[in-house]
């Protein structure tokens, strides 16, 4: 693709996210949409992580576990230890990354459906742990998490205290959108650098990858850690947005949805998880009016979509592009 065209696309996207959307919302007065879009942005970050594990050839249904862990890290640090939310955000990501290294070491050896099953179980185990551990306060969860405070640098307030804002939802929208942009910029760079090619070699043939000298165990762990880091960041921000976290905040259903988001958007495209999340989230809500048929129609549509577009929604644009 043409370089200028690509830059224009990025600029258009940024303007849409940071200017056009807020403008439209203020014109129409639909302030509730902020919450919806914040959720989409955060879920797409978690999905991006799942996408990266797909990229090294693993079907990851454990992202719900890391989102939940991240949410609890933030909730516990903020409520029990009085740490500022802004510090807990990277802490949650790092906690999940380290946890994923310990978990990944034994389970990343598994392939295909075996890895998928174990990672699915991981989500459930994490939920049960959250129910059982004293620090997570069982089924009643951790509530009344204070809103993020101000960030100031050299006496200059860069981010205002969310509690002083008239509508913190707008601030959360900007936060989530910024995180999403950073996440996908990073992913784009990763995939289009040499690392992306090495990951791809792993996805296509692990034996051959190791015969050309790739330390496949190492690389799998790195990819899984990045994935879980993103899951943790996503979950932690969710905890701040909803000001609460429960063992059921992220469940097996969420893990499955993260994966479906990737499928739907297209596993071959970095921005697939973003588009997939947006489509699924809005699609699901649109079907709300169909009442008891919601799940049925939703599932049928998913099946049809995957049959018609096995390479995801973004493959629709493939004809114009080359390679």
């Amino acid at each position: 693709m043409n370089r200028t065209l690509r830059l224009l696309g990025v600029a258009a996207f940024l303007v849409a996210v940071f200017v056009v959307v807020p403008l439209l919302i203020s014109v129409t007065g639909r302030k509730d949409v902020y919450y919806t879009l914040t959720s989409v942005a955060l879920l797409s970050i978690a999905s991006a992580g799942v996408w990266l594990t797909f990229y090294i050839g693993r079907i990851n249904m454990g992202q719900g576990a890391f989102a939940l862990m991240g949410a609890y890290v933030t909730a516990v640090l903020v409520n029990h230890y009085g740490v500022a939310f802004w510090w807990t955000l990277p802490a949650a990501g790092l906690f999940c990354a380290v946890a994923s290294l310990l978990i990944g070491l034994p389970i990343l050896r598994l392939r295909g459906v075996y890895f998928a099953m174990v990672s699915l179980v991981l989500t459930e185990v994490t939920r049960l742990l959250a129910l059982a551990l004293p620090v997570t306060e069982g089924a009643k969860g951790i509530t009344n998490i204070p809103l993020p405070g101000a960030i100031s640098l050299f006496g200059l307030t860069i981010v205002p205290d969310f509690a002083t804002l008239e509508n913190p939802r707008i601030a959360f929208y900007y936060l989530a959108a910024t995180l999403m942009v950073l996440c996908f910029a990073g992913m784009y760079r990763l995939v289009h650098s040499r690392i992306g090619h090495i990951c791809m070699s792993l996805q296509q043939n692990e034996e051959l990858a190791s015969s050309i000298g790739v330390n496949i165990v190492h690389l799998r762990l790195i990819a899984f850690a990045i994935s879980s880091f993103l899951g943790g960041i996503s979950g932690a921000t969710f905890a701040a947005v909803t000001q609460s976290v429960y063992p059921s905040s992220f469940t097996v259903t969420d893990s499955v949805n993260f994966m479906l988001n990737c499928f739907l958007g297209g596993l071959g495209y970095v921005f697939g998880p973003m588009l997939g999340t947006l489509t699924l989230y809005f699609g699901w809500n649109l079907l709300f009016q169909t009442g008891e048929f919601q799940l049925l129609i939703y599932s049928s549509l998913m099946i049809i979509l995957m049959l018609v577009l096995p390479n995801g929604l973004l493959s629709l644009g493939e004809g114009r592009r080359k390679g």
Binding site: H197, M200, S201, N205, L208, S211, G213, N215
Partner: protein, 259 residues
Amino acid sequence: MDTILQVRELTRRFGGLTAVNNVSFDVREREILSVIGPNGAGKSTLFKLIASFLKPTSGEVLYRGERISGLAPHIAARKGVVRTFQETTIFRNMTVRENVIVAHHLRSRASLLGFFVGTGTAREDERAFGASADEILDFLNLTELANEKARNLPHGHLRALGIAIGLATDPAVLLLDEPFAGMNHDETHKAVAMVRRLRERGLTVLLVEHDMPAVMKISDRIVVINFGQKIAEGTPVDIQNNDRVIEAYLGAEDEAIGL
């Protein structure tokens, strides 16, 4: 000539089956050494042991005096011992050129993080890999197919691509498992010339091959394996006249294999 590889009393069992049984031989620097034997004799298993894809049940493989068996494939590759696969094994969904470029992994001086942020070293690496890949593609007559998706290549070229991937790792010892399989007379002829040129590049080549005329033509020495055991070792002439080989392996087939 110096010894580059020493195979020492190598044994590998799969359950009750001894696929490789107490095999020892030396490989000299810049030698073309063929391993032959009937189907299921243990040749591929032997290669996997040498390239550290399998751990030996007992025995060891020394590369320039250093043990490389039982470690891990990427470590053996880093030291300079690389194998190609009996089944054509390539990165199917990459182009031919991308296949070869990615295989330069061991030559990178930049770290993964360096490639992510795009440091000067990383950019130099990428330039160097591109140039080297083009040279290798040219060497193996694959230049015209450089931008073709690997999965679309005809069979003969797939083998060549497998070797190109091996070459990109800059090995000292390259193990080729049946490189001429499925080739017609002409293609084999060219491939034999290509293996000779590998040696001219300074490589030591081990190959497993069933195509006897090609083996006899190309090899400096031959190791014969039957039921996991080494039954003979020597020059092509020695092997052709070795009674044990004729008895155990060649037998009545000697006409079929062009002796």
